[in-house]
Structures are given as C-alpha cells and as structure tokens.
C-alpha cells in the first residue's frame, strides 16, 4: 500500500532508459568499431540481469507491444516524469558494457551509450539527467571517458555495477573515485553483475528470482568493501549511491560490520570511526525497491534503525515493476521524511543538481 503522498517536484534518482537495439548506437561508434560490430556480428548487450519478458523488467502498463520499454525520450517523459510530476529524473542506462571481456570494446560501447543518451534523451527533455557509463574493466579508460563527458553538467554521477570483477573498494578503482570527487559526482552503484563470477558465494543459482535476491547480499559486500578499503578516508567528499539495492537490510549489516570492526580494526587502521558513522556520511540508497515489512508500524521502526533521515533518496526504478499506480512512497514514511527523501536528500547527494 502506498502512503498517498504526492510526488510532485521530486527528484527521481533511478530510472532506466533502454538502448532500443544495437543499431541505434551505430552512429556513435568510430568506423573501426562500426565495422567490428557488423563484421563480427556483435549482439545486443541486453543481460540476464533483466530478462526482457520477466515481470520485474517492465511494469505491465509500461511495457510496449513491440521492442524495449523506456526506449525513447517521449515515452520516458510521459510515463516516468509526467505520471509522478517529478522535476528531474536520472537515467541509469543498464546495457551490458561492464560484461564485455575486451576493455577496448567496452570503452567504445561506453562512449557510444553516453553519446546516444545525450542526443536521444538529454537533448530532448530538459528534466533528464544521466549517470556516465564507464568501462570498469580498465580504470584509466574509465577516467578518460569521465573526462570526455564531464563538462556536460547533465551528467550528474558515474555508474558502476554492484558485482564487477573485483569488490568496488579495491585500490585499482580509486582513479575513478578521484575523478568523481574532482567533478562533484557521486558514484552510483547499481544492482547488476558483470557476471565474471557466480552471483552468489556458493555458485550459480537455478532461478532468476535468486539472481535478483542475490543483489542485496552483494550490496552488503560492497558497503563492507568501500568502508574497509578506506575509500572514504582517501576521498572525504565522495558519496556512493546504492541504486535498486533495497535499504531494509542496511541497519543489520552495519551492526554486524561495526561489531567486527571493534574486534578487527587493527587490520584496517585507516578506518578510524565506526562503519555505521562512515555509512551515514557517505552512503545513500534509492527508495525503490522497498523490501518492506508487512506493517507500516514495522517500517517506522526500521526507519528508526536506519539512524538517519538523510540516507534514502527518491526513485521509481521506472520501468521496473516494483509497485503499482503511483504508490511509490510506502505507508510508514512520514510527510517530513518523504519531503527529505524526494528533494533535500537528492540535492545533497548530487552537487550537480544544486
């Protein structure tokens, strides 16, 4: 059940435009890569993270008769922005760039997706913003892509997947975080995998439902990684947005991580405050999906466990099917908190939106 709180003027921090097909990207490749794509028959980079016809991938009323959902600016403007009367929506384009084995091919695809977003989305609706797609396979190339497009203020964050080749706190990724801090952008860590490893620590699961369920444990792992590696000691202005992560798991994870930090802090001496404090300063989570308890009273208790009203930022997760109608804010969230979630917290998370 929704809370019936109006979302007018909210900032939607997680919507998903689809690349309609690989042909749509061809104008944004160099001749070499265009030839490669046609001569080698490079396929579309849709991934198993969102099987095309799976119920979660697109809400029934947002699913077109033909082709991909949310594949053009007009559809997105009408369905995602007008419906919720949001003021701004941030496009996190989930296209399998991070899965590619060749870092050169990944860099070419990342640039093509970013240029496609500028031409086909950002230039067509002034309410749209985007996260920069980067080739996480190679941090130097990733930074080059950030530098190439960062002068466009409509790019407001940098996109990574929660399951990459290495845990995201690892030092080899730090040049990306230095670039993010330099350009006043948070890192947006989105659900999904580069599928370089099984999605669970016990191997490959049988069902898609397990793949999606396993995103939450992966987010636990990456919160540990960012904090334990000392990313926020090195980049004190950096914020990390966990997108489509759920948030109800966070308090319990921080209790556990903080308990072990008390016993094992000699191993990670640069972590000089409790992980709970660090997370409250640096980690933000998008609202949807709400993996909510059965009652609104329990959700109120859970919000108390979060220990901060600044961590959750509004999202619809359009066009994924997380809720029906316009019931995006669940019962159990007060009007004051909803206001912070919808406007204040996003503005404080994305300096480029101020």
């Amino acid at each position: 059940m929704g809370s019936s709180i109006m979302t007018k003027g909210a900032i939607d921090c997680d919507i998903h435009p689809s690349v309609p097909n690989i042909e749509a990207l061809l104008p944004y490749f160099s001749d070499h890569w265009r030839d490669t794509i046609s001569q080698r028959g490079v396929h579309d980079l849709q991934t198993i993270a969102y099987p095309k016809n799976a119920p979660l991938t697109a809400r029934p009323d947002w699913r077109p008769k033909l082709g991909m959902p949310a594949a053009d600016a007009n559809t997105i403007s009408t369905q995602a922005l007008d419906t919720f009367q949001t003021s701004i929506a941030i496009c996190n384009c989930l296209y399998g760039v991070q899965l590619l084995m060749s870092e050169d091919l990944a860099a070419a695809f990342a640039s093509a997706v970013n240029d496609w977003m500028v031409a086909e989305l950002l230039n067509k609706d002034p309410r749209l913003r985007a996260s920069i797609v980067i080739p996480t396979q190679n941090s130097e190339m990733a930074v080059a892509e950030i530098e190439r497009v960062a002068s466009d203020p409509r790019f407001v964050s940098i996109l990574m997947l929660v399951m990459d080749e290495k845990p995201l706190g690892r030092r080899s990724y730090w040049p990306i975080y230095a670039a993010a801090q330099r350009h006043n952008m948070p890192i947006c860590v989105h659900a999904g995998s580069a599928y370089k490893h099984p999605v669970t620590s016990v191997g490959w699961p049988s069902y898609y439902a397990e793949d999606y369920a396993s995103q939450a444990p992966a987010f636990h792992n990456m919160v540990s990684s960012f904090i334990c590696e000392g990313v926020f000691s090195e980049y004190p202005d950096l914020k990390v947005v966990l997108a489509e992560s759920g948030f109800s798991w966070l308090p319990a994870h921080l209790w556990r991580l903080t308990k072990f930090w008390r016993g094992l802090r000699a191993e990670i001496p640069w972590v000089d405050r409790t992980p709970t404090e660090i997370a409250r300063d640096h980690i933000r989570l998008t609202l949807q999906p709400v993996d909510a308890p059965p009652t609104s009273e329990q959700l109120e208790r859970l919000m108390d466990h979060m220990g901060s009203d600044e961590m959750i930022i509004f999202s619809t997760d359009y066009p994924h099917w997380q809720f029906d109608g316009v019931d995006v804010i669940p019962e159990g969230i007060s009007r004051d908190l909803a206001r912070k979630i919808m406007v204040d917290n996003p503005k404080n998370t994305y300096p480029r939106l101020q």
Partner: protein, 368 residues
C-alpha cells in the same frame, strides 16, 4: 606484537543462568594420536603424503589470516599444551562449569569437510564421528556431537547418516556454508532426505571452501570482509533452499544456521516474499510465502550477536524473527566468543530469557 590477555573475573558465589551453547569447537590434541586410530592405513599414508587439499591455495592456513592465531581466545590454550578446544578438562573448568552450560553442541571445523578428494573426505568425516564419541561425548554427558558428512558427495553423506542414525551421541548433521553449489540444488537433496529419516536437524556452520569468491563481485582484501560476509553467504544458501522448494519437498526438515548472525533475517524474508509474489511463474513449486517457510523450518544460533546502538533495536529484530527461533551460542574457544553474561545486555522477561539461553535448544534437539 604485544597482546594483552585480559584477566577474566568469574563471579564466585552467583549461580549463573543455565545455558545451552550451540556452537563449541573441539580440536584433536594431535591428528595422528586421536584421529588416525579411526583412519585406514591407506588414508593415513595419503594424509602424510599429500596433506589435505581444499579449494584454496594454502595447505597450512586460511586464505585470509585470522584476527588471532587459530582464531582463538588468547586465554583458551590448555595449560597442559595443545590447541584451544583440545582438552576436555580445561574446557570444563574454563567454560562448561563457570558458564553453567547444560548442553554443549560440538561443531568440529577443518575436520574432513570441503576436502577435494571425496573418498578421503568421507573417511575423515567418519573418523571424526568416532573421535567425537571416544574423546568427548562418552566422557561428558553435557556435550553432544555433530554428525560430520562429506557433503559434496551426497551419497557418501547418506551412508554416513544411515550408519549413525538413532545414536543419541549426535544432536545434528553438520555442513559448512561455503558449498560448491547453492545448497538448495537437487544434488544435495539426498542429505536432507536422510536427515529427515534420522530425525536430525541439519546445521550449516559459516565457513568452508566452495571455490566461488566470497562475494558475487570477487575476492575482498581483508579478513573482516570475509567474516562479515558469512552473513551474506548464509543468506544466499537460504535463498537457494527456499526458492528450490527444499522445505516443501522435505516438510519435516529443520535447518540451523550457525555463526552467521541473525539480524539480517527479517529484511531477507521481506525481500524474498516480494520476489516470490512477482516471480511465482518461475518458481511454481514454492507454494507458500518464503517468510512462512523460514519461520517454520529455520533456527539461528546467536553468536556473533549483532550490537546496535541503542541495543533496544535488537528487541524489534528478535521479535520479527521470533524469540523461539534463536539458539544461544558462544563459539568457544574462538576469539569472537560471546560471553553469556554480557551477550544480551537488554532487559527481558524471565521466560524469554530461559527460552533464549536454554529451552529453545532443548526443545529443538528433543532433549527435554
């Protein structure tokens, strides 16, 4: 490195609340002396020649160096020598007596499970089962053994379960959490079937070497990440068991999740319920909401107990899980031991306290 060992002050007169400790780790004083008598010459020779090979690179130590040698309390080394957890008399005087342990469940680690050579794994597990009776449960009636099975070879595991079924030295069947495949997959079903036949709960203790990185995004740098990650790992294995329909196929199965914390369970249940609703078409064999299946079939040991600030938040969490689902454990003699008198510093009623510290375990293990 300079390590200070804290003096533990035991309260002289006060009689402590009787407890169950559902996670105690015994270790052989010496493998040749205590285990070899139960291993054939062939496997003794094998062990001398090749050692124990797991799905990890170091034969003599863990992938991540522990926080303490042998992951043990500094004060748990027996005065007569040997590793922590290897001396029954010292365990009595340091732990069982002063903490008024009425029931102690033994969980031997690094004792034949997750070993690559399947025949060796089966032989070693069998030897450890004999050893637990000979050195521990036959000498101390407060202790119960865990039935060790070579779980990557389910048929050999069934053989071992059928061999000991009905022997009340054993309280449960033990598996490690880092299996080679998700634990709900049908490869492992014969183990669950045999467990139901033997009327023994299946306990899954955090740790092991399944081959996959401890996160879905690769290997972390630090021991703390691996330790914390046991909770995530356990969530994945529970998700697998729910969505594969294990609890519906084996309606009398009891699952105990050991040393992986518990506060994560409510949020996982809510997430699985939501996905079950959305994805019924993919998993039609799951006919009831995951939260219901979990509430009916799953118990959790308490150590390492989560420590929110304020502590009262934990009361909400325990209420959401169910007070009857938690089994107290200390993890003796490991470094992250939860001291019974300090582990739950929240005021709770006498009945709840007795259930939490003792009665839930007695009931689950049918020891009333």
């Amino acid at each position: 490195m300079n390590i200070q060992v804290m003096e533990r002050v035991t309260t002289g007169q006060k009689i402590n609340l009787a407890i169950a400790d559902c996670d105690i780790h015994p270790t052989p004083k010496s493998v040749p002396v205590e285990i070899y008598p139960y291993l054939s010459k062939r496997w003794q020779d094998y062990m001398e020649t090749y050692g124990i090979i797991y799905r990890q690179g170091f034969p003599t130590g863990p992938a991540f160096p522990k926080g303490q040698p042998n992951a043990a309390r500094r004060d748990a080394y027996p005065p007569g020598g040997g590793k922590p957890g290897s001396d029954l008399d010292f365990m009595r005087s340091q732990h069982l007596d002063p903490n008024n342990v009425q029931l102690g469940v033994l969980n031997p680690l690094s004792c034949g499970q997750g070993v690559q050579n399947q025949d060796f794994s089966a032989a070693y597990c069998n030897a450890v089962n004999h050893w637990q009776i000979a050195e521990w449960t036959s000498k101390e009636s407060r202790l119960k053994a865990s039935l060790m099975v070579p779980y990557e070879d389910p048929l050999a595991s069934v053989k071992e379960i059928d061999l000991w079924g009905g022997d009340n030295n054993f309280a449960q069947i033990l598996l490690l959490s880092r299996t080679a495949e998700p634990l709900g997959q049908r490869k492992y079903w014969p183990i669950f079937e045999a467990a139901c036949r033997a009327n023994l709960p299946v306990a899954v203790h955090a740790f092991g070497y399944g081959g996959a990185p401890v996160t879905g995004g690769g290997w972390p740098s630090f021991y703390i990440e691996e330790m914390v990650g046991h909770a995530e790992n356990t969530q994945s294995l529970l998700t697998s068991m729910v969505f594969e329909g294990v609890f519906e196929r084996f309606p009398t199965l009891k699952l105990i999740l050991v040393e992986a914390g518990f506060a994560w369970l409510p949020a996982l249940s809510w997430r699985l319920d939501k996905l079950w609703n959305r994805m019924r078409g993919e998993i039609p064999h799951v006919t009831r909401p995951p939260s219901e299946l979990i509430r009916q079939h799953v118990w959790l040991t308490t150590q390492p107990m989560e420590e929110p600030e304020p502590r009262e938040h934990l009361l909400d969490t325990i209420e959401w899980i169910g007070w009857e689902k938690l089994l107290f454990a200390t993890d003796y003699p490991h470094w992250d031991f939860d001291e019974p008198s300090r582990a739950l510093p929240i005021r709770i009623g006498k009945e709840q306290k007795e259930a939490f510290f003792l009665k839930n375990a007695l009931e689950l293990y049918n020891l009333n």
